[in-house]
């Protein structure tokens, strides 16, 4: 089992899009995939079709999400919490959902000495059930992001390469260094930064010719971080696949889909296929 965190402390850089579609891409390659959403905004949870209820009373995630996983050592193990994505992809993937209550509980969790270790320990118990675990971390530098980076073996940093996203790379590097100190106490290898994944890149020709290469160079030279060969471009289908709804009489039910499900022959599908292959090669898994 290999665990990959998707993290950048700049929001809006395509983190969730990357997490869910990469998960789908790996699943479509026959891998057993678990997607863990540890971002209180629960965008991955939504994108995999687990938030279809309209009313609070119908919320079936509140007491069964990643929060319970982190809160208790002896209860609420991964098989108790895991959900199968719904209408998201063929085949569906396994998801540990997130919930907005994570925000409220952070204060309490920081008081728990072992809160940073729970996810790691619980994943160790199901090591043989999955090939790849993907963790969608929050775009902040909080306890949840820390848990994600402590738990993961590898890190992907999705970035639109714009100035703020680039300047945030220093924060990411410092954060990784801090986490690595904690990992060394755990006798755990340092987190391996697989690289910056260019995402939400404009398809405008002039931009691609004149500006984009300079942005890439900045990342590699100024921040000395590797960059993925695969580029995830900003495309209509990719942003639409999350926002699908299906009409049920008077109600519009959210019906988000993976890009593979939404438009099987589009460019974005090819990009995510390439990303899956590139990733598997980087982490030494069979493609």
């Amino acid at each position: 089992m290999k665990t990959i965190a998707i993290y950048h402390n700049k929001g809006g850089v395509g983190k969730t899009t990357t997490a869910v579609n990469l998960a789908a891409g790996l699943r479509n390659k026959g891998k057993k995939v678990l997607l863990i959403d540890i971002d209180a905004q629960a965008n991955s949870t939504f994108a995999t079709g687990l938030i279809k209820f309209e009313f609070e009373e119908d919320d079936d995630l509140k007491h069964k999400n990643v929060l319970q996983l982190i809160s208790s050592a002896d209860f609420d193990f991964i098989p108790d919490i895991v959900r199968r994505s719904s209408g998201f992809n063929h085949p569906e993937i396994d998801v540990i959902p997130s919930h907005i209550t994570l925000i409220d509980q952070q204060q309490h969790l920081t008081r728990i000495a072992a809160s940073r270790l729970r996810l790691l320990f619980k994943l160790e118990k199901i090591e043989d059930d999955y090939d790849i675990v993907i963790i969608d971390a929050p775009p902040s530098r909080d306890l949840y992001a820390e848990i994600a980076l402590i738990t993961a073996d590898y890190l992907i940093i999705p970035s639109d390469l714009k100035p703020f996203a680039n300047q945030g790379l220093n924060n990411v590097k410092n954060f990784v260094a801090e986490v690595n100190e904690f990992r060394s106490n755990l006798k755990k290898e340092p987190l391996e930064v697989l690289g910056v994944l260019p995402s939400k890149v404009l398809t405008n020709n002039r931009f691609l010719q004149h500006i984009f290469p300079r942005l890439l160079e900045t990342v590699e030279i100024r921040y000395s971080l590797p960059v993925f060969k695969t580029i995830i471009y900003e495309r209509v289908a990719l942003s639409n696949c999350v926002n699908q709804t299906s009409n049920m009489g008077v109600r519009e039910i959210p019906s988000p889909k993976s890009i593979f499900e939404y438009e099987p022959h589009c460019e974005s599908v090819r990009e995510f296929r390439n990303l899956s292959t590139e990733l598997l090669k980087k982490i030494g898994e069979s493609t």
């Binding site: 208790s72 002896d74 008081r111 728990i112 000495a113 072992a114 270790l117």
Partner: protein, 233 residues
């Protein structure tokens, strides 16, 4: 720094055997831990590995916490504790011992000659305690009374309704108000007299009714008066 945490009971070990403590006493303490949702005198722990701890002080509390977990594994999975950093163990133990001695010694260890002075001392302490508690209560009470009075006054104040005031205010008041708020000047008296006659025939039902039936009173003046009354001016 000695940090305060919630620690998994299962990750703690203790060198003192459980048999040193009476089962029914641990039971009672365990129930109390469950009721108060916490141990009120936190354990002192030494960290031995990333997720394992040893009891430095508070063996009895520790076994009470273990018992509480046996009774309710979910509610008492964790226990409050101070994790004492390396090198500070002795200093922490010192403080712990002093603190727990302070509870028990004065009466037991004192011999008869000092009893009276001890008692006196305690009385004085008690007195000052009572006094400060009383002062606290008093201030709290005064604050509360003031707050409540303000609320009552606010909620009892009738919402000013300008139309009712036009209909019911005594003539001298109306003259005063209109002089202040409008530029009617010398005409005020005449206007108010007209208004009084009109409202005696029948009360005004609306502001337009008012303007229609009182010839010297224009819309602008009415608006000015209302503004003045409502304090929006």
């Amino acid at each position: 720094m000695s940090e305060y945490y919630l620690v998994d009971v299962k990750s703690i070990t203790c060198h003192v055997p459980r048999s040193q403590f009476q089962a029914d006493e641990l039971d009672m303490l365990a129930q109390s831990i469950l009721t108060t949702k916490g141990l009120l005198l936190p354990l002192l722990l030494k960290q031995t590995a990333i997720n394992s701890f040893e009891v430095l002080a508070g063996d009895r509390q520790y076994y009470a916490a273990v018992r509480a977990m046996e009774i309710n594994p979910r509610a008492a999975e964790m226990v409050n504790a101070f994790i004492i950093p390396m090198g500070l163990e002795n200093a922490a133990l010192d403080q712990f011992n002093h603190l727990s001695m302070g509870d028990a010694t004065p009466l037991q260890s004192s011999t008869s000659p000092t009893v009276s002075s001890d008692l006196e001392q305690r009385l004085i302490q008690l007195e000052s305690l009572v006094q400060s508690a009383f002062i606290q209560l008093q201030t709290a009470q005064t604050l509360n009374t003031q707050r409540l009075e303000r609320q009552i006054i606010q909620s009892n104040l009738p919402k000013p309704n300008p139309l009712t005031m036009f209909n019911s205010a005594p003539i001298p008041d109306l003259i005063h108000q209109l002089t202040q708020a409008t530029r009617l000047g010398a005409k005020v008296k005449k206007v108010v007299e007209d208004l009084d006659i009109a409202r005696q025939q029948s009360p005004f039902t609306s502001y337009s009714d008012l303007v229609n039936r009182v010839s010297g009173l224009g819309e602008k003046s009415v608006l000015k008066i209302i503004d003045a009354w409502m304090g929006t001016d």
